[in-house]
Symmetry: C2
Subunit: 460 residues, 2 copies
């Protein structure tokens, strides 16, 4: 039986509770796009107090809640397929305060990532967490998944920029966690518990976020690499001398897709199995010289075959295209995606073993590798043969997953580097987390959400 929404109308204004089928369909899913949305209704609260009132209402009426940000997730964490009430933060999209002495900005959780990046820029500062979905993803969602992206090697994850949170717990209580303090040694840091909890403990409604100095003269090196096991030396050599702001990679197979699709020339003369894109702040001539020294030493020691360095901001942007266009280029082929990580020293072994697994079981599948190799984060994209039924293809990939994840377990890796667990990775959580860990997680969940109304069925 569906609960009556009447009493909810006392909490929300009329235009803040949506039940039309378009809204239900739009708000009931994320970018994962393989689940059928079927929420009860969509609540669009305007204040933390309204969120708390909704959670209290949901406890009273035993209604499951799905917190919803920009719904750009790729693991089904924001999917509502079982009559849940979706709480979307779209109307909580304001910057609340900014303090230049601390470089901290307080904003509502519905602020779009790009909006925060622009706010920082207007104040001659920089918000460095950046990824493909920055134009749609919301800060609250970034926090709930501890979003990473392309600048992690220098600037860390979302976690590293969150100085305070306002959350509503699964009990409907409002907590102000840390409120911008740099040092605060007074018990368990519940802020860090909420970061990455995928809406299963409560809802983030506001965040205090640290900004930083803008990078200057960002310079890109695009390098051709003879074998992936040389990446370890490459990383080692550069990290000793240069603060890298990005260290990305992609395979020749990826390049061969991007070049014709975007009418781009080969970036370096030499053809190679892999390419690395390195970025750094060339704030002084010394740094440029250090980077060039590393490059030359790499050529001599043959862990670099060839390379090009940007001479202008425009050329840097041109070089980034080879990496940034990959996802969009192959999207029409509906790749089966796995977002996985190992420690950077094990990337080569992992990739080799996965290639062997796929070649053995599905020699007709194409494998496209790219990702944030400096973080050990690989995006494994498997493409179906043109004539294969898509459902059959997905099933085949799911059959391969346990083999890949077994290798990950052996190497101490993670089945989800930055996309979260949600629904999609839930069956595989035990490859990365032990039964004991999952039991402790459930114990924590019970303390914050005793009636299990917060995003039930996600994560575990």
């Amino acid at each position: 039986m569906q609960p009556s929404l009447d009493s909810l109308r006392n909490i929300l204004e009329a235009d803040c509770l949506l039940t039309d089928s378009d809204s239900l369909s739009q708000y009931g899913k994320d970018w994962t796009n393989q689940y059928t949305p079927a929420p009860l209704a969509i609540a669009l609260p305007k204040t933390t107090e309204q969120v708390a009132a909704i959670v209290q209402w949901a406890n009273k009426h035993s209604v499951a809640l799905v917190p919803s940000g920009g719904r750009t997730g790729l693991s089904g964490g924001a999917v509502a397929e079982h009559g849940e009430l979706v709480i979307a933060l779209d109307k909580m999209n304001q910057v609340i305060a900014f303090e230049s002495a601390t470089q901290q900005v307080k904003c509502q959780a519905g602020v779009i990532t790009e909006q925060l990046q622009q706010f920082a820029e207007e104040n001659d500062l920089y918000y460095p967490v950046d990824f493909a979905s920055s134009g749609s993803s919301q800060i609250g969602g970034n926090i709930a998944t501890n979003a990473g992206g392309i600048k992690v090697i220098r600037y860390g994850l979302t976690r590293d920029w969150i100085m305070g949170l306002t959350v509503v717990t699964g009990k409907g209580e409002v907590l102000e966690l840390n409120a911008g303090l740099i040092k605060n040694a007074t018990g368990y840091d519940l802020r860090h518990l909420f970061i990455g909890s995928e809406g299963t403990l409560g809802i983030v409604t506001e965040a205090t976020i640290k900004l930083t100095r803008q990078p200057k003269n960002l310079t890109v090196l695009l390098l051709a690499i003879p074998q992936l096991d040389k990446v370890k030396e490459l990383l080692n050599t550069f990290q000793k001398e240069v603060d890298l702001t990005a260290f990305e990679f992609f395979s020749e197979e990826a390049l061969l897709k991007v070049m014709p699709h975007h009418n781009l020339p080969r970036p370096v003369e030499t053809e190679a199995p892999f390419y690395c894109l390195l970025e750094f702040d060339a704030t002084s001539d010394d740094i440029l010289e250090n980077a060039l020294g590393c490059f030359e030493s790499g050529l001599e020691q043959e862990f670099i075959l060839d390379g090009v360095m940007s001479q202008s901001q425009q050329q840097a942007a041109e070089l980034w295209k080879y990496r940034e266009y990959i996802s969009e280029t192959i999207s029409s082929r509906r790749p089966y995606k796995n977002d996985i990580s190992v420690t950077p020293d094990k990337v080569s072994e992992f990739l080799g073993r996965v290639n062997n697994i796929v070649a053995e079981h599905y020699p007709e599948f194409e494998v496209i590798w790219f990702g944030h190799i400096g973080d050990g984060n690989l995006h494994l994209n498997i493409l179906a043969p043109d004539d294969m039924d898509y459902a059959e293809f997905v099933k085949a990939c799911e059959n391969v997953n346990p083999l890949i994840f077994e290798v990950l377990r052996e190497l101490g890796g993670s089945i989800s580097a930055e996309h979260g667990v949600g629904l999609l990775k839930k069956p595989y959580l035990n490859y990365t987390r032990t039964e004991a860990e999952i039991n402790y997680m459930k114990g924590i969940k019970a303390a914050f959400d005793p009636n299990n109304i917060m995003n039930p069925g996600k994560l575990f």
Copy 2:
């Protein structure tokens, strides 16, 4: 009734279970030095498995456990005054593994901070968490209190360097948390929950720690400041241009103690109420010029009265003495210490209000201010008049605490910036954490330590 230690002897070698009165007294207290140690015995395990066996033994026999590192804490977190079994990690003091490609070192929790710093140096790297007790404090204790220190403004807290933990929970289960992954979005990050938990959830036995590039050409600016409310402008001006590695302050009163005690001359000609010590990597002439530009602009705008910049490593070390010698200089006066924090923009208001409180209630007390002002972290040291009974003095200071902490609550500050809560700050926890937060903390504790054997009575 004291439990029998016989069955414990099956777990530990004979020389790893101490019951002599010297050991009980030595291991039963930390630097807080105002509690009477009375532990049951001291266990010195050599492996994680032994730690787990001890915790299981303690659960079975209802024995309270006190985890013990270097016991340099200042809040009584490692005190055993009620017949607890102390688990000291002294014999787990080895570096286990080092991987240069990831710059990660795995070590046992009993490794001394300085030992890790030296290990980093031997590998041309740097472990940047540093504080007065680095020569005695252990990594496990640093993690349990999320230790901070003098480099936080650039390098963050202990939390920011921990890539993985091995812990034994209060149930006696061994968990491997994260194991060095940079990106791992698979549920609650229990690693961050253990960091700063003061041994109340379990015991850290091993840690994987990230190292970084060594700083080059560290340069110190010592500046005389006309009023503390100018610090905001000072911080603002420098942070826009220079990556500061330290931003410390001390009062004229502190300087007046240090100079005669260590036979040091006045560092700058101009006498001022406050002094700031700034440090940065002068890796290029550009950076030096930027810093000098900030200095000159400060003189012009009169938020700096006078200053001196180090011209050599030796001179930099000389200038640090004015800040570093304060604690030791006043130690013979047995100061009543409060380690507190606010956001850096509120430091001036906070300090002014505390000075007024002390002046109003105890005009005969001396107040010595110093600390990590760039982090908003102030060390408030109150000195008794020479002729005052010490117990009476402590009581007087405790009477003032609620007034100071009320101001902290109003300004959103913390009653313990980096010393933890332990026993000493427990009565005041509710000034920084709400009742709801404390209840959630207790819920988490119950999940990890259902029999309440881990450091009971500490924190809450």
